[in-house]
């Protein structure tokens, strides 16, 4: 890795694989960029003059495009010094295709939004970075979109320390039975329904659990879904878990999914 670091905390970093998650306009011609880098986690940059026609950044700072970023500075906002397409993004262009287009774009924006909400600045998640690349690739090939999203959500939770218990009943420790129904209590894990009567005392009417089939849990653990029912249950479960961690501020891309006019 090309890093020079001195005592004052000033960093100069070269050619790091990264994806841009979000950009916002800053002053007249500059951008503030939220990016997910492979080795440094989520970072925030200012790209000076990026909107000028002849800027070295012109046309490069696009979301969902694999980039190599170089930066310098210290603290929360680094100065972007260089941006380049990677060989893989050049390859995409060679084949004359846009990295991503059309109906899957909204799903890709959803990935970016949950990353922005879950990752804190300067917290490296190299594994998650490659999961993200993997998810984008699968989405661009329009493979089963819902299942790609569920798998990414699960991995995101895992990497940020909110792993879900998916393989055993947390009351008895027994392995999950595909044919049984479970109550998934958020923040804890699955209880087999038989225990529900005991639980009812502890849990008020606003019971924060979701009913799922054992099969759903096992398939979510494995990362592949066999039918629409388990996929739908997994979606409900993930939605509830994510809502719990994100608090009151709802996800904007989800609202957009629902407000399509057409």
């Amino acid at each position: 890795m090309n890093i020079s670091n001195n005592l004052s905390g000033y960093q100069r970093v070269h050619s790091q694989p990264a994806y841009i998650l979000h950009t916002q306009a800053y002053q007249n011609t500059s951008l503030i960029i939220d990016a997910f880098t492979a080795n440094f986690g989520r970072l925030r940059f200012v790209a000076k003059g990026a909107k000028r026609l002849k800027s070295p950044f012109a046309g490069k700072l696009q979301v969902f495009t694999p980039l190599l970023l170089s930066w310098s500075g210290k603290g929360d906002l680094y100065t972007l010094t260089d941006a380049d397409f990677t060989t893989s993004s050049q390859l995409l262009y060679l084949h004359g295709q846009q990295p991503l287009r059309g109906s899957v774009l909204l799903s890709c924006y959803y990935l970016n939004e949950i990353l922005l909400r879950f990752l804190t600045l300067e917290d490296p998640h190299p594994e998650l970075f490659y999961y993200y690349v993997d998810a984008l690739e699968n989405l661009s090939m329009k493979k089963n979109i819902e299942s790609v999203l569920r798998v990414f959500e699960k991995r995101l939770l895992q990497e940020t320390g909110y792993s879900l218990v998916l393989n055993c009943d947390i009351n008895t420790g027994e392995p999950i039975d595909a044919l049984k129904m479970y109550h998934y209590i958020l923040n804890e894990g699955p209880h087999s329904i038989a225990y529900e009567s005991e639980l009812s005392e502890r849990c008020n009417p606003e019971y924060d659990g979701i009913q799922v089939l054992g099969k759903t849990l096992l398939e979510l653990e494995r990362g592949s879904f066999s039918n629409r029912q388990t996929l739908k249950q997994a979606k409900q479960l993930m939605r509830a878990v994510i809502a719990l961690h994100l608090g009151d501020k709802p996800l904007k891309t989800r609202a957009l999914f629902q407000s399509t006019i057409l």
Partner: protein, 201 residues
């Protein structure tokens, strides 16, 4: 140094303009007050009346002081052909340098899901009802060639596809007078994709 209250107020008002900082704002304020009070009066009057009277054209959303803008109201221009652009300055660009003779629809932005800007915010509900009204025969997509612009174009193309309306996208390509060697890769590949048949007469 502190300014007298009115001058300070003027300077901070000028600073709200894009590209104007403390220094330029001060220069403008002093210039107007010292050397050209007449121009200052003119600016203040035209600004006030513009703010009061200018609104959006009800058909294409471009800034206009009448209910319909000049383009939408012009009987010589085709009302069946609609060019969709992101901003009023894009309309100006088309008007100044092309022979386009249809009308426009201005989105005032592009889809930007993470900023909460969805189809409603860029007026696509209004556009949908115009499509439903049935006199539009061609939609020309002229959003910017960025990921957001493409996403917006794609969204609109789904709206038009559902209604069976001819939809075209402006070409992306090599600028006139440019040299291929220096054109960036993605532009060149777009140019290749959008190549057209050479006609010899």
């Amino acid at each position: 140094m502190s300014y007298s209250p009115l001058i300070g107020q003027l300077i901070s008002a000028l600073k709200r303009l894009p590209g104007v900082g403390q220094k330029s704002a001060q220069r403008m304020a002093f210039y107007l007050l010292q050397h050209d009070k007449q121009a200052a009066m003119q600016i203040s009057q035209s600004l006030a009346s513009a703010i009061e009277q200018v609104g959006e054209c009800s058909k294409c959303r471009v800034l206009s002081e009448s209910e319909l803008c000049e383009v939408c109201n012009n009987p010589k221009r085709s009302q069946q052909q609609v060019c969709i652009v992101e901003s009023p300055s894009d309309v100006q660009a088309f008007e100044q340098s092309t022979h386009y003779s249809g009308r426009y629809f201005v989105l005032m932005g592009h889809l930007s899901p993470l900023d909460g800007i969805g189809p409603h915010e860029i007026g696509l509900d209004i556009f949908a009802s115009q499509l439903d009204a049935g006199d539009i025969t061609e939609v020309i997509l002229a959003t910017n060639p960025t990921v957001e612009g493409e996403a917006t174009a794609h969204y609109i193309s789904e709206m038009t596809k559902k209604r069976n309306i001819k939809t075209t996208r402006i070409a992306h390509g090599v600028p006139i007078g440019g040299e291929l060697e220096y054109v960036n890769g993605s532009t060149l590949s777009h140019a290749l994709d959008g190549r057209s048949i050479v006609s010899v007469d």
